[in-house]
């Protein structure tokens, strides 16, 4: 079973083909990602109109490359999946329309995939996990703790009440004149710095409800940075290291609260999973691995290439839905907002 996946919700134009072989083995046959980072770098963030223009310019070329890399022709796939949101709607429409068009022209089923569900299910593509599991989803636009009970079946345990984690990294990077995207830049600087030089707050620490608040931390960094400016290279490294240490503590503490909330809801997770672009951060991964060990759970994080937005995760989510007969028609709409709890699991069919 082979599925084409298309992703255009933010600043990556991506397409991939994923398969489940007869042996049951999962394979990524191709995974093409065209990042628009350079086009947005001057603005310190993604500019929606620039992103939409870039997606339409590249979409057919990236899809053609995904087929060429996999050694397949359009008719060789079993279904087409495209991200229908949440995201920047101008870009979502490009990938969604292209996906529908390929499905229609090849006579294959079409699946409109929720981008967050695709991140949530990636661990099943890579590690064949069984439900339920606890997911920390962290990216430029999202910061949530979810109990993943099944395809289309999510219980949101908590989320950010202000900034997303990736957004906090981007804002700190911008403040310190580090290159966009902020996540890798701050992590690189943090590796050179002293994480104990500045004692930044750990917002929400110890609270039972597994929510996040990050804008106060960002402000604390700015106030300290403004006080000691002009900044030396060492200052920048120390600010990054101290900020990242606070972020790791927050992630670990909030995920611990999420684990408790999950169990209180009567769900016993098999695994702790971290996914999304910020899951590429090594310090956060190590922190969560410690927490998982303490909780007696395995910890799974996707390989670096599958942390950021990609087509393989969309193809995989499409494949999971296709296996359950959860397909969509040509009328599927692009959704700028699409919380996971608005999805519905496949109803049990009467025997």
């Amino acid at each position: 079973m082979r599925v084409l996946g298309i992703e255009t919700t933010c600043d990556e134009t991506a397409a991939a083909i994923v398969s489940v072989e007869r042996s049951g083995e999962h394979k990524i046959l191709s995974n093409e990602v065209l990042s628009q980072i350079a086009a947005h770098a001057a603005y310190g963030g993604v500019v929606p109109e620039i992103a939409a223009r870039a997606h339409v310019e590249a979409i057919d070329r990236i899809i053609a490359r995904a087929f060429a890399d996999a050694g397949l022709k359009p008719g060789d796939i079993d279904a087409v999946a495209a991200a229908a949101g949440p995201g920047l709607v101008g870009g979502v429409m490009v990938g969604l329309t292209a996906g529908k068009a390929i499905a229609l022209a090849t006579g294959k089923p079409f699946i409109a995939v929720n981008h967050l569900e695709a991140h949530a299910l990636t661990a099943r593509l890579t590690d064949n996990l069984t439900f339920p599991y606890l997911l920390l989803l962290v990216s430029g636009g999202h910061t949530q703790l979810l109990a993943v009970r099944g395809v289309g079946d999510y219980l949101k345990l908590g989320g950010t009440i202000d900034d997303a984690v990736g957004e906090a990294f981007d804002k700190i990077a911008k403040m310190l004149a580090l290159p966009y995207p902020g996540g890798p830049s701050v992590e690189r600087e943090a590796a050179k710095g002293d994480s104990e030089r500045f004692d930044f707050p750990r917002p929400m620490q110890g609270r039972p409800n597994p929510d996040f608040s990050l804008s106060g931390l960002k402000t604390a960094v700015r106030l300290v940075a403004e006080r000691i400016a002009p900044l030396s290279d060492n200052d920048v490294a120390d600010l990054c290291a101290s900020f990242q240490a606070a972020i790791v503590d927050v992630m670990v503490d909030r995920t611990r609260a999420g684990l408790r909330a999950c169990r209180e809801a009567g769900i016993t997770p098999t695994t702790l999973v971290v996914a999304g672009g910020v899951a590429a951060n090594q310090a956060i991964r190590s922190g969560l691995t410690r927490l998982a060990t303490e909780a007696g759970l395995p910890m799974v994080a996707p390989p670096q290439a599958l942390c950021g937005d990609n087509g393989a995760m969309i193809a995989w989510a499409g494949l999971e839905r296709l296996r359950l007969g959860m397909v969509d028609d040509m009328g599927a709409v692009a959704r700028p907002r699409w919380p996971l709890n608005e999805l519905t699991p496949k109803p049990a069919t009467a025997a």
């Binding site: 001057a42 603005y43 310190g44 963030g45 500019v47 109109e49 620039i50 939409a52 223009r53 997606h55 339409v56 310019e57 979409i59 057919d60 899809i63 053609a64 359009p74 101008g90 429409m93 490009v94 990938g95 969604l96 329309t97 292209a98 996906g99 529908k100 068009a101 390929i102 229609l104 022209a105 090849t106 804002k171 911008k174 403040m175 310190l176 004149a177 700015r222 940075a225 403004e226 400016a229 002009p230 900044l231 030396s232 290279d233 200052d235 920048v236 028609d329 040509m330 009328g331 709409v333 692009a334």
Partner: protein, 227 residues
Amino acid sequence: MRILAIDTALGACSACVFEAGAAAPLAQETLVMDRGHAEALMPLIERVMQKADGGFAALGRVAVTVGPGSYTGLRVGVSAARAIAFAAGIPAVGVTTVAACAAPLIGREHGRVIAAALDARHGQVWFQALTAEGKPLVSLRQVSYRDAARAIGAGPVSLVGSAALSVANEAWAIGLDALVVDDAKAPNIAWVARLGLIADPESAPPRPLYLKAPETTPQDKARLPRR
């Protein structure tokens, strides 16, 4: 050759299947709308393709209006055209909205200038003028109603497009012989197909014609001074 033509650039969502040399499309559908093209387009193409025997395998080409028009509309139409072209292994070509609006008048307006004036909002028009025989006279531009009327020259002029009357008013004010032939909000999809059939894929790529750069300003205000 058989072509699938798509238009989502202006005030309609349209598609048709057209066989070269035929008097009318094999199948067509036009929905008049100002918004909602993204949701309407693929179901509409599905219905149109069901009505044409042979399906996608019988197509030799895809044509799409590339603008000027609504940015969202252009991107939806172009994405669909490019993806269909890839899946069916056929070329895709772009047709401008002004050309598709003006095309029906070519060869029928003896001795008159043919001008297409499409509403670009905020008192602006997307404007292009041709000779009665279809030779370029005024290149495509975004201008005020008045500047469009002035670009016509001595006239007489036959106008088409959603802003035809607004430009005609300015033309009359400066004493031009101006006639509004058609002020439809979108081109006739059959003409998009006809122009698509004769377009050269090398010189008419399916690429949105925005006419304007994105409105953005680099931001570095939040940056702190470095030593």
